[in-house]
Amino acid sequence: MSLIAADHICIRFGAEEVLHDISLKVDPGEIVTILGPNGSGKSTLLRALLGIVPAAEGRITRQPGLKIGYVPQKLMIDRTMPITVRRFLSLPARVTDAAADEALSRTGMAGQGAEQMTTLSGGQLQRVLLARALLGQPQILMLDEPTSGLDQPGEAAFYRLIEEVRRETGAAVLMISHDLHVVMAASDRVICLNGHICCEGTPRVVSTAPEYRALFGLGTQGALALYRHEHDHAHEDGHPHHHHHDPHHGHDHA
């Protein structure tokens, strides 16, 4: 049984449809990465799976009692709240000092439990968020651009850690990224998203898919960041796909 599954969900913000007809599932022990350009609805999809954003259509099913370790992209703690890293790790479930120390040293934050959360750098904050997520002994880790605050060695170490966690605990991982190369190596399955699922499969299959190349401008300009979604890319048969060419539909033509 899948840990978490979305069945033909659509998400709308007012009249604007940000996600169209998304179906996906994550099985135990899998590492699945969602790739897509900015504004493609990646974070929204993750938040919908968590139940934060309601789906206008379709259904989301979670295994009953599923333990999720969520690492949001950002965390803005109001400066009026004094809270140490150690105290933060005990939210909402209290953990022992030994467990907290272990989680912090695993994520490279050993001995920093007494620091105030509001003084951490972006990278440190992400490590603390990951430590907290691991403490809940999750069956699935859901990570929203988990390496955006890290430098390159930090990033490589981060993916090694994720792989290690999966090996030791059997936890599934569903993460968002816009970084192609590292992700490709670290994932079992990749889903390309741009308001809808453009293509999905193993990293090898996806990296050669025309949809993927179109999405990231590979082969046309050679620049990864440049997004040229030409609307002429072919979708597999049996995958009915509607492009609503109304002005609200979220395709930006760069």
């Binding site: 968590l50 934060i52 999720i68 969520y70 109001d78 140490t84 939210l91 909402p92």
Partner: protein, 276 residues
């Protein structure tokens, strides 16, 4: 035999002490700060200051309602404060422009309340006691209600503490952990209405929000964890209550504002510490 005599003596002393209006006033101030310390901390963390104002100002309307219907004042203020708090919470969940909406609601509630109260000549004379509090006139019955209300708020917050704190740090993290942030917000709303009903007699409708925010803000620079901040806010609130009482007796100033003046002084002292 001896212990029994001592017990009786202590009890008699305690009851006679309660006869003293000053002792009652002091105990009322301490009781109130038990609730305003932790709740005020949440008001500060969640930036609900204006929300507190709107709820507190609605209390004056509650006084009018109670007089019109012959209900106890406490019940009237509790009802109207709760209605106001739930309305505001509902509007904010629907994403209204909160700054403006709260401004409109807070001040209209106060204005409507003052107009409504003016229809009761008996109140007209001591309207200022509802606006600024009348802690020196706290009766034994008032004192019992203040402590009951404050302990109820404290118990409610203690019960929901971990979930409330998680939802305050991040609604998304709360969601992912199976906590419903909207439900936790409702807990705060109920607590706030209770505090307003309790605090009306002590600091008055105009300064309830100040009693929530100032001690908590003063506690901020002295604490490293949320629990420490809540506890220090209780201490600063109690100290302000007793200090304000003293100031009021010494200079014959209105007690409610005197309490806030002392609290503001303590806040200034605490910010000096932050500079160092």
């Amino acid at each position: 035999m001896a212990t029994r005599t001592i017990t009786i003596t202590i009890l008699t002393t305690a009851t006679t002490m309660l006869d003293d209006f000053l002792v009652r006033a002091g105990l009322a101030a301490i009781g109130l700060s038990l609730a305003t310390g932790p709740l005020g901390s949440f008001v500060v963390w969640r930036r609900m200051a204006y929300f507190g104002d709107a709820t507190a100002h609605a209390a004056v309307l509650g006084v009018a309602l109670a007089l019109a219907t012959d209900l106890p004042i406490g019940l009237g203020t509790l009802t109207v404060a709760l209605a106001m708090a739930v309305t505001v919470a509902g509007l904010s969940a629907r994403g209204w422009a909160m700054d403006t909406t709260l401004g409109v609601l807070a001040h209209s509630a106060l204005a409507f309340g003052l107009v409504a109260v003016s229809f009761f000549p008996s109140v007209r004379t001591d309207l200022s006691s509802y606006l600024f509090g009348d802690i020196l006139a706290v009766s034994r019955g008032d004192l019992a209600l203040i402590w009951l209300g404050a302990l109820a708020v404290l118990a409610l917050l203690a019960w929901r503490w971990q979930a409330l704190l998680t939802a305050t740090v991040s609604e998304d993290l709360a969601h992912a952990a199976g906590i419903r942030p909207d439900r936790e917000r409702l807990v705060l709303v109920i607590a706030l209405a209770l505090v307003v009903a309790v605090a009306l007699k002590i600091v008055g409708a105009l300064l309830i929000a100040a009693m929530l925010i100032i001690p908590a803000a003063a506690a901020r620079s002295l604490s490293r964890t949320p629990e420490a901040m809540a506890a220090i806010a209780i201490a600063i609130g109690g100290l302000s209550g007793l200090g304000g009482l003293g100031l009021s007796l010494w200079q014959d100033t209105p007690t409610g504002p005197s309490i806030i003046v002392v609290a503001a002084g303590l806040f200034a002292l605490s910010s000096l510490r932050r500079q160092v």
